[in-house]
Symmetry: C2
Subunit: 91 residues, 2 copies
DNA sequence: AAACTATATGCCATTATTGGAATATAATAT
DNA sequence: ATATTATATTCCAATAATGGCATATAGTTT
């Protein structure tokens, strides 16, 4: 199996979960620390943490440490058009 | 499928598999019948069939019957830009 | 140092996905 | 009607994902 298809599949897999999509959505607003994401979404902190790590491993977000906090942000600006197309699909 | 994030997640889930991505790739070339897809990819016919149904259920492809054959084709032309963005992500 | 806070990791039961093998269906040809 | 062909469905074992709970780590404060 072609490597490239697997890499792409990994990205889509990272996006194939409602919680992780909600995180992405929240991050379009700018970088957020884990505690803000936990507060916004209604999930346990460990689950949010694991979700963020999965998104990071797929290369979709990046993190920045500042004291006790870890701030996550979107890594690609084209993500907006990406999701615009997606929105057309679900109409 | 109650909320929007779940609907989007379903689309990404359908795309989160190398075989299904290869099918999508093959279909950008134009509509293909199941047998052509089976011949092109190296998988059992039942597996290809199930993959196609999953893509169809996600609303990404559509089918057309003609005699014994079933032809599948992409449902969205914006899929090209969608994948262009994806390609930027994996560089 | 100990206490506290933000985040990450490990464990676990439940549920979903994967892909092969056998079989069923549906359209066509003889 | 029977045979043939293209596609779909069912069953199954192996593997992976989900999300809660308990705990660990790492930076900060006192």
């Amino acid at each position: 199996m072609n490597n490239l298809y697997e890499k792409k599949a990994q990205i889509f897999k990272a996006l194939s979960n409602p919680v992780r999509l909600e995180i992405i959505d929240f991050l379009t607003d700018g970088e957020k620390c884990v505690c803000e994401i936990v507060e916004k979404l209604n999930y346990e902190q460990p689950h949010i943490s694991k979700s963020l790590i999965k998104l990071k491993e797929a290369g979709l977000i990046e993190d920045r440490k500042d004291g006790l906090n870890v701030y996550y942000s979107l890594k690609f600006c084209c993500m907006k058009e990406f999701f615009n197309c997606l929105n057309k699909m679900i109409k």
